[in-house]
């Protein structure tokens, strides 16, 4: 029966040879290569659950009075957008499940991408010939962050509305043309008009998903063209690929991962509450709540906005750089600039212009690992600074002191971390190249955790 199907398709497309190659395509099977797939499956679930939500969501800021099931908001004036999210959550049977699954998928999408980027960076997978794959990936990271922000802001609740106000301020803060751009996007001064919501909506459900899909296609196609990287092994070398063929082995593994991602997301979607907008209430520009935060993947930006001291240089009639610019625009530009520039920078610094199909272990490239550790420590510290108010709540370490400490550490800790990382890498390498001899003559080596382990048995005293 399968033969008949294949025959049918082949006689109409002539692609049997391609299909045959595809089915035998070899996948190196290290577990860390699955991180990108986790992201991919999160994206699939985002699209699926997202489509369902568009069947119920109303992207309009037209005001209405709520008469639904959630008692504390009965009689309250709110936008149709917010009202429709309340209805999805309270009125439609699986609405809340799908909504929460969608939101968890977004959060986990970015967890997977982050882990994947870290893996790619620290193993040097971005080197020639995979720069195109890498650039597509970094672009997708940026788009995913924007997409998530747009998605949860569509609900027009108190928490996300505050975030939109901040986004408006960041756009306003761009030198020279910031205010013009803000007026263009918001169709007037904040809070803007319902057209702003239409734009946010169409960006979120059509424009950005298409952009991500295109970049994803480029990402996957270039991976197929260059074939996946692999770690050095007894049989794995630069000139070959060792792994599992797509059919049957890898397909079932991948499918299993996809199903596991779906399982985790639906379990979270039903059992762990996320963004309970009815508890926040509708957004009003003149209102705010304590403890408002953006979704986790924008935590680095709130940290930056909070840490920046209140400089706002003027010249004559102009405010050169409104304060929000530093944390909201300059900082992310530097971070993404670094990510984009790194392959070229590394090539220039090391002078290495060759092909690399074998991955480095982090210790194999001490400089890259050190720079990476320093850089991500810098970003990570700023990220944690963004939640230091809740740390104050839990530990009573006062907020202003935390801010001052972070402001100092942010310049010091990355260098310390980089230095430590470099030393660790060099130590590990040295211990491999010149292994210690244990008492019986066996080899002893350093482990990444810092301890020692026996690598090969030697004689014992009794032998």
């Amino acid at each position: 029966m399968i033969y008949r199907l294949v025959r049918y398709v082949d006689t109409r497309t002539g692609q049997a040879p391609v299909l045959k190659k595809l089915l035998r395509y070899v996948f190196p099977d290290h577990w860390s290569f699955l991180l990108g797939e986790i992201a991919l499956y999160c994206f699939v679930i985002l699209v699926g659950t997202g489509i369902y939500l568009t069947f119920f969501f109303d992207p309009s800021t037209q005001q209405t009075i709520y008469h639904g099931a959630y008692e504390p908001l009965r009689g309250r004036e709110m936008s149709e957008a917010y009202r429709s999210v309340l209805d999805i959550s309270y009125r439609y049977k699986a609405g809340l499940l799908i909504r929460q699954t969608h939101h968890w998928a977004a959060d986990v999408f970015l967890v997977a991408i982050t882990l994947h980027v870290l893996r790619v960076f620290f193993t040097g997978a971005f080197r020639k010939p995979r720069e195109l794959t890498y650039y597509a990936g970094v672009l997708m990271l940026a788009l995913a962050m924007f997409e998530g922000f747009a998605g949860y802001s569509l609900g027009d609740d108190l928490l996300s509305g505050m975030g939109i106000a901040i986004a408006y301020s960041v756009v306003m803060s761009l030198p020279v043309f910031g205010a013009n751009l803000a007026l263009l996007i918001w169709h007037g001064p904040f809070p803007g008009t319902t057209e702003f919501f239409s734009r946010l909506y169409i960006a979120h459900v059509l424009l950005v998903p298409i952009a991500i899909a295109v970049l994803l296609t480029i990402h996957l196609v270039t991976i197929v063209f260059t074939h996946h990287t692999q770690f050095r092994g007894p049989r794995a070398r630069e000139g070959n690929v060792v792994g599992i063929p797509l059919w049957p082995g890898y397909l079932f593994r991948s499918l299993g991962l996809a199903l596991a991602v779906a399982a985790v997301l639906f379990l979270l979607g039903g059992l762990v509450q996320i963004n309970p907008v009815w508890e926040w209430g509708p957004f009003e520009p003149s209102q705010s709540t304590n403890g408002a935060q953006p979704d986790w993947y924008l935590g680095w930006l709130i940290g930056a906005l909070r840490l920046m001291p209140g400089w706002e240089p003027h010249i004559g009639h102009y405010t050169l750089i409104p304060n929000a610019f530093w944390g909201g625009a300059f900082f992310p530009t530097v971070v993404f600039g670094f990510l984009f520039a790194w392959p070229t920078l590394e090539r220039r610094i090391t002078g290495d212009r060759g092909y690399h199909h074998l991955l480095d272990r982090p210790r194999d490239a001490p400089w890259r690992t050190a720079v990476g550790v320093g850089f991500f420590t810098w970003v990570g510290m700023i990220f944690f600074a963004g939640s230091s108010d809740r740390v104050f709540v839990q530990t009573n370490i006062d907020y202003e002191s935390q801010v001052h400490v972070y402001q100092a550490l942010v310049f010091v800790l990355p260098f310390v971390a980089a230095w430590i990382a470099k030393r660790v890498c060099e130590q590990l390498l040295r211990s491999e190249a010149h292994p210690l001899r244990g008492p019986g003559g066996g080899r002893v080596r350093r482990t990444p955790a810092g301890g020692f382990e026996r690598q090969s048995a030697g004689k014992t005293f009794s032998e």
Partner: protein, 300 residues
């Protein structure tokens, strides 16, 4: 060339694996069926998520066990094809450039094509200009407050001076103005007159110690909804207006000066006066631009 797949020792697919996959699939079907039943009978979100998640988890187990234990386990080794096609790349470049042959004004034509392309694309983008009044930045300077405008409380009633006790925090709005406008909302507080340290040009701006400030933070536009006022003074932080977003802290006694946090401009103060009915009215314009800073903000 392509390496032959190396089959790992082939044995009978282990029985446990076959049974495991079978059970996983049957239980997944049961969970999915239960999901449908729960949905029809009342649909509790937690049960729906648990059942659907379980169904997928069981399918996942089935798939992974199939992949790792059931189907023949193979390791394959394959040579990578070279990515370097130097001669082909050169051929393509030459082939493309050959189209130039016999054209005398080739460079001129290319420049003209570039210019035409850019302008046409530009023309296509121009309708985006209707998206907003991007040339009218003066809109950002518009002021809801002018002399004589009445302050309304949250319930929409005129705000009376005698309703505001020392240490109170009162949100207020401009009468007749859309509340959603950033320039319409105020936060009114009252200090002891003896504690005021206003700049000299603001004498008289705070009758009875009543201070009115724009409620919109000059850092990033959040509503300044926190007012700390000590019940018993010594050794505690002095009165301040604090924004919950990034904790910009403003000193009302000194006219909204920034005393902590990332805000780059003081919180604009509105001079108020008490009219003959005891109601609060604006006595002039705000001390500075309302809302987050931008290029054209000129701080007085």
């Amino acid at each position: 060339m392509r390496g032959a797949p190396r089959l790992l020792p082939r044995r009978q697919a282990p029985r446990w694996a076959e049974l495991a996959v079978l059970w996983a699939l049957l239980l997944a079907a049961a969970a999915a069926a239960a999901f449908i039943a729960v949905y029809a009978l009342g649909a509790d979100t937690q049960w729906l998520g648990l059942l659907l998640g379980l169904a997928f988890a069981l399918l996942a187990v089935g798939s992974v066990v199939t992949g790792k234990a059931l189907v023949p386990q193979e390791q394959k080794e394959e040579e990578r094809r070279s990515l370097d096609h130097d001669m082909d790349d050169l051929d393509i470049a030459v082939y493309v450039q050959e189209a130039d042959e016999g054209i005398t004004r080739s460079r001129l034509l290319k420049s003209a094509a570039g210019a035409a392309g850019l302008t046409v694309v530009g023309a296509l983008l121009v309708p985006l200009a209707s998206c907003g009044p991007f040339l009218d930045v003066e809109q950002l300077r518009r002021m809801a407050w002018r002399r004589g405008r009445r302050l309304l409380d949250d319930a929409g009633r005129p705000l009376r001076a005698d309703e505001i006790a020392v240490g109170a925090m009162v949100p207020a709005f401009a009468e007749g103005v859309d509340r959603k406008r950033l320039d319409a909302s105020l936060i009114v507080v009252r200090l002891h007159e003896a504690d005021l340290r206003l700049p000299r040009q603001r004498e008289g701006w705070a009758p009875h110690g009543i201070l009115a400030f724009s409620k919109i933070c000059t850092h990033a536009g959040c509503a300044v909804s926190m007012f700390r006022y000590p019940l018993f003074s010594p050794k505690v932080p002095k009165p301040a207006l604090v924004c919950p977003c990034h904790y910009s802290t403003f000193d009302p006694a000194r006219g909204g000066k920034v005393i902590f946090g990332p805000a780059g401009r003081p919180l604009p103060q509105l001079p108020v006066t008490v009219d003959e009915r005891g109601e609060l009215r604006a006595a002039g314009r705000m001390s500075g631009p309302v809302g987050p800073s931008w290029w054209g903000v000129q701080e007085g």
